[in-house]
């Protein structure tokens, strides 16, 4: 049994921990709101871009489609783009993405496909470096500050396209946390190279009643411009989703931590009071028995 003094220090230390976790929760909540707004603002652009690519993709004959659209025709190497946060203290947010990536690598290995990894965010890099260090072909930290400028996604897309152009891989999948609500993030795997038709709810009504578009410049040039752009847009979308998810996860984690600290304070106080009572009773007994002996 620890002494009264030890218990007192313990209680005050847990109290200050609770203050910190409470503050972190509140910060995460306000960041979450902003991150969510940003993710929502970016959606119209992504949707417009996707519609344009879909329209163009429909007009190009499959045999002269560029590799970004149709694939390289091989399937020997796969690049995993793993998007995590730079910071921890957000529950299983980072580790669940990493776990999904590891599973994917194991599955690829069974099909004897070579897996390569590109990490965005420090946490994922740190976790994967230990077990799959030799597979990592590149990594990038998120820019400090609240904003996730589009240029950042463009830079990542450029690096990936550079690898693709050098025949570094044949397919590319993106692993990240999709924001569903403040309480739940869904680990998502999206294929980005070659372009996969998005699994939309509405049936493919896209053929579009023979709306023949004019293209300026030609289809091929437009596609060559649009596809890399679309890649950057998809990556940017994933960044924003992941950023919102991170704040949501941190908020939940900190709320739990605050509650646990509260429970612990209650238990410690109970045992502190018991001991205090016991000490008083002991003293009283000593006094009474002392006076009785007289």
């Amino acid at each position: 049994m620890s002494s009264l003094k030890e218990l007192r220090t313990r209680i005050s230390s847990v109290r200050s921990t609770r203050k910190i976790t409470q503050a972190m929760k509140m910060v995460a909540a306000s960041k979450l709101r902003r991150a969510q707004e940003r993710a929502e603002r970016a959606r119209p652009y992504a949707a417009g871009m996707e519609a344009m690519v879909a329209r163009l993709a429909g007009t190009v004959a499959p045999e002269d489609a560029p590799a970004l659209l149709a694939g390289t025709g091989r399937n020997q190497a796969c690049l995993l783009l793993v998007i995590t946060a730079d910071r921890g203290l957000c529950g299983a947010f980072n580790s669940s993405v990493v776990r999904a990536a590891r599973r994917k690598i194991a599955a690829l290995a069974e099909d004897s496909i070579e897996a390569k990894i590109f990490c965005v965010g420090r946490k994922g890099y740190d976790l994967l470096r230990r077990t799959h260090g030799q597979r990592i072909v590149g990594h990038r930290l998120l820019p400090p500050g609240r904003d996730l400028p589009f240029a950042e996604a463009e830079a990542v897309a450029e690096e990936i396209l550079g690898l693709f152009a050098d025949d570094g891989f044949d397919t590319c999948t993106m692993h990240y946390n999709r924001f569903r609500s403040a309480m739940s993030q869904v680990v998502t795997e999206t294929q980005i190279i070659p372009r996969a038709a998005p699994e939309s709810d509405e049936p493919a009504a896209e053929p579009d009643a023979g709306a023949l578009h004019e293209f300026e410049p030609g289809e091929d040039e437009l596609l060559a411009d649009l596809l890399p752009r679309n890649l950057a847009v998809q990556i940017h979308g994933a960044f924003l989703e992941s950023a919102a998810g991170e704040q949501g996860a941190r908020m939940t984690a900190m709320e739990n931590a605050t509650r646990n600290a509260g429970d612990m304070i209650g238990r410690l106080e109970l045992s502190y009071n018991r001991q205090r009572q016991a000490a008083i009773t002991k003293e009283l007994i000593e006094i009474i028995s002392g006076s009785e002996a007289l």
């Binding site: 603002r41 970016a42 119209p44 871009m49 344009m52 163009l56 578009h213 410049p217 437009l222």
Partner: protein, 139 residues
């Protein structure tokens, strides 16, 4: 006009929707030349070059101008969608900063021209094109 033939215009950047309006005419800086979009325009999908998008609320009104650095545009009979890489209202452009950007871009291009890196040269040329167009839009 009683019921003016309007088009649904949306000007969107990766970060936000900049403008959603129903003007009578939009002039778009296409890569092959500027084109005006009125109602019942034939469907077109075009890349953009750096330039200004002019939004005419009515045919004879002064246009509202937005500078775009590039991007894509899709127009149909009833709508016009502009996906800009970056866009800013012309009235918000700082003319002095635009001048400086041109000077910087020219200097960067001079540096890149002497260098062996072809990609860097292309990038510098593009940056100069954007900066020049921005200054022209501001001026």
């Amino acid at each position: 006009m009683a019921d003016a033939p309007l088009i649904d215009l949306e000007l969107i950047t990766p970060e936000a929707t900049l403008l959603a309006a129903t003007p009578e005419m939009v002039v778009v800086p296409g890569s092959e030349g500027e084109f005006g979009v009125l109602r019942d325009h034939a469907p077109i999908l075009s890349a953009l070059r750096p330039g200004t998008v002019q939004v005419h609320a009515t045919f004879d009104s002064e246009p509202e101008c937005y500078f775009v650095t590039g991007g894509f545009s899709e127009a149909g009979p009833e709508h016009c969608l502009i996906l800009a890489d970056e866009a800013v209202a012309v009235s918000d452009i700082d003319a002095a900063a635009a001048d400086r950007a041109v000077a910087d871009a020219e200097a960067a291009l001079r540096d890149a021209e002497s260098g062996p890196d072809e990609a860097a040269r292309d990038r510098a040329e593009q940056a100069l094109e954007v900066a020049t167009a921005r200054r022209a839009a501001a001026g």
